[in-house]
């Protein structure tokens, strides 16, 4: 057992660190949940892409460097430690791309991945509906067969990034008569500016339009934008939810960097007599380390041929609750300044509050942990 990286990995780390030191904007970009900030973050994606740092784990033909999971984790560590901007293309890169690698045709990959890597096309997810949240399989938005494609109708909601994004992906009911509701669903991609699409931005808790409702009225989707076989949408979507909950959505680098900023804040402003607060800072340090080590163990298992399964639910519960605790500790250190909406910790705190809700609520994750990892019987939710 060892935690030391090879010289090759360390050389990769050094290259990433050097590039980031030269290119990370000196002052933070405006919030990516605003029109101006979204545009600035899109430019940053182009900057990353120009030097092949936007999707390091992808094959070179799509704009990546073809690196393994270990190097991706190292890149993330350096990325967040450098204080680099949030990733406006996150939904596409961490949710849609793994699905394309597993289930799309070569033609689809060649068409969709490069503009995703460059930020030219930013993707939004379209999973939830007003009546289908945790019980996603009850969704009713439908795709009806038409000449050369499908017509989408219905309503999607809580669609992250959709206020300013270009395209979206989701699952739609194509066979309302399927014997079982998980069947008869189809995974497809559509244009958010196509005729028949109405995007209504929704203000997040702080008022920023971080997500949107999508009203779809006979929106045409060509056959080439269906991923996998019609009717297989549920299986395809579920095969990559592990990515969202686990490794590729929230890498440890993010939390190591945040814990580092927190300890710096504590050294600067912490009252040495306040041992209760001191203990919470220590917990944040230990929590980031625990998450990092858990991830290295997972990456080792993965390298040895293991798969990411229900364990990703442990991950999701851990990081989402850790993230809130860390930000609450920062706010408590700030005292009266915690209230200032433009403070360094305010927006990240607001963002952290959504963690236990998105990517499958933590209640659903705990059910998965109990049933699939502990073997407890299914029951009423």
């Amino acid at each position: 057992m060892d935690l030391t990286q090879t010289a090759d990995v360390e050389a990769f780390r050094a290259a990433a660190r050097a590039w980031l030191a030269d290119h990370v904007p000196a002052s933070p970009l405006p919030s990516l949940e605003t029109r101006e900030g979204f545009a600035a973050h899109r430019e940053w994606e182009a900057r990353l892409h120009a030097d092949r740092w936007s999707v390091v784990s992808w094959p070179e033909e799509y704009g990546g460097r073809g690196v393994d999971l270990v190097r991706w984790l190292v890149f993330e560590e350096e990325y967040w430690a450098a204080g680099a901007p949030g990733r406006v293309s996150q939904n596409g890169i961490s949710l849609l791309a793994p699905t394309l690698f597993d289930h799309a045709t070569p033609e689809q990959r060649a068409r969709v991945l490069p503009p995703m890597a460059s930020g030219e096309v930013v993707w939004a997810q379209a999973w939830s509906e007003p009546e289908a949240g945790s019980d996603l399989a009850s969704l009713t938005s439908r795709a009806v067969r038409t000449d050369g494609g499908w017509l989408l109708s219905g309503q999607k909601t809580w669609s992250s990034r959709a206020a300013f994004a270009d395209r979206a992906f989701g699952i739609f009911r194509t066979d309302p008569d399927a014997p079982e509701r998980h069947r008869g669903l189809t995974y497809l991609m559509f244009d958010l500016r196509a005729p028949g699409v109405t995007v209504r931005p929704i203000g997040r808790l702080d008022g920023k339009p971080a997500f949107a409702e999508l009203f779809l009225d006979e929106v045409f989707v060509p056959d080439e934008d269906v991923i996998g076989e019609p009717g297989q949408g549920w299986r395809i979507a579920m095969s990559t939810t592990g990515n969202e909950r686990g490794l590729t959505l929230r890498s440890p680098g993010r939390f190591l960097a945040a814990a580092h900023r927190l300890t710096a804040l504590w050294r600067e402003q912490g009252d040495p007599a306040d041992t209760a607060l001191r203990d919470r800072v220590a917990d944040a340090v230990v929590g980031a380390r625990a998450y990092e080590l858990f991830t290295w163990a997972g990456a080792s298992r993965f390298a040895a041929g293991g798969a990411v399964g229900a364990e990703s639910s442990l991950n999701k519960v851990f990081w989402s609750e850790y993230d809130i605790a860390l930000h609450e500790t920062a706010l408590d250190l700030l005292g009266a300044d915690a209230e200032l909406a433009d403070g360094e910790w305010a927006e990240p705190w607001i963002f952290s509050l959504a963690g236990p809700i998105y990517a499958g609520t933590n209640e659903i994750q705990r059910d998965i942990i109990a049933e699939r990892l502990l073997g407890l019987p299914k029951g009423r939710r």
Partner: protein, 333 residues
Amino acid sequence: MRFLPTDEQSDFARTLRSLLGTAQVPAAVRAWADGEYGPGLALRSRLAGTGLFALAAPEAYEGAGLLPLELSLGFVELGRAGAPGPVVESAAASVLLSELGDEALAKRFLPGLVAGEAWATLTLPGESGGGPYALDADAATYCFTVSGAGELRPAAPGDALRSTDPARRLSRLAPAGGEPLAAGPAVARAARAAGLWARLLTAAQCLGVAEALLERTVGYVKQRTQFGTPIGSFQAVKHRLADTLVALEFARPLVWAAALSLAPGDVAAAKLRCGEAAYRAAMTALQLHGAVGYTEELDLSLWLRKARPLRDAWGTPSACRAEVLRSLTPGRR
């Protein structure tokens, strides 16, 4: 980077688990609590047969070399089985004697500890992570104490003090007069190493205690029926157990990393999280068993009563948090 136990390490843990699984450990723990040490000492000999105690002593003295990772994996199994006796303290004494570099002392004590013919207990000064009480001094073959001035002496146990875990027998140690066994900076250094190992192994033991409590509770809620259905199908029950598993699984890699580095900050982090995982598992086990979990008759009580003292032994959560922050290098990313 391969942050997983090797097949050999996993096999060693499995061997211990199967040995302990058939050794009637709960009966030995109850006997130990009554001051009957026979079954506990018999278990000690069988454990020695796996090479467990050799992992804290150099080869020159019948040991296998100092192997903190293998020993930690072994201590997870001891915790899981609830094994009685001064296991942590014996290993810490073994490390102390190994690190001293005094051949005569090492020859005198180590082979017996390695062979499972002797157990040791000890107290260390506060800066080495020690507390005021020695564990199981009346059952130990050797009692040692290291003073704040860096003197290692044999010691005699004072009156026994009852622990909230009856299988843990506490006493203060009175150092023997005359010449110390060893003295000086080397003793202080060796005591710090011993304290660090004691903290690491207690963390590993806590992890095993948490595993045992979770496993027993999962088993119970699957078979206990109320309102016509197993209580394990209720979300309120499931979610408590899920949280217990999350705490446990995120504590485990901290033990591995601490065993790899033996850095004080890493060891403190492991002890903090494992101690809390064990205590949390205990509170969950107690609540989900209901009234029967509150009885001493149910074997669950053997682990329930261990969780709290182990959480505090060789480094309270507060002391561990302070160590974590002390160990941070300012300016490091």
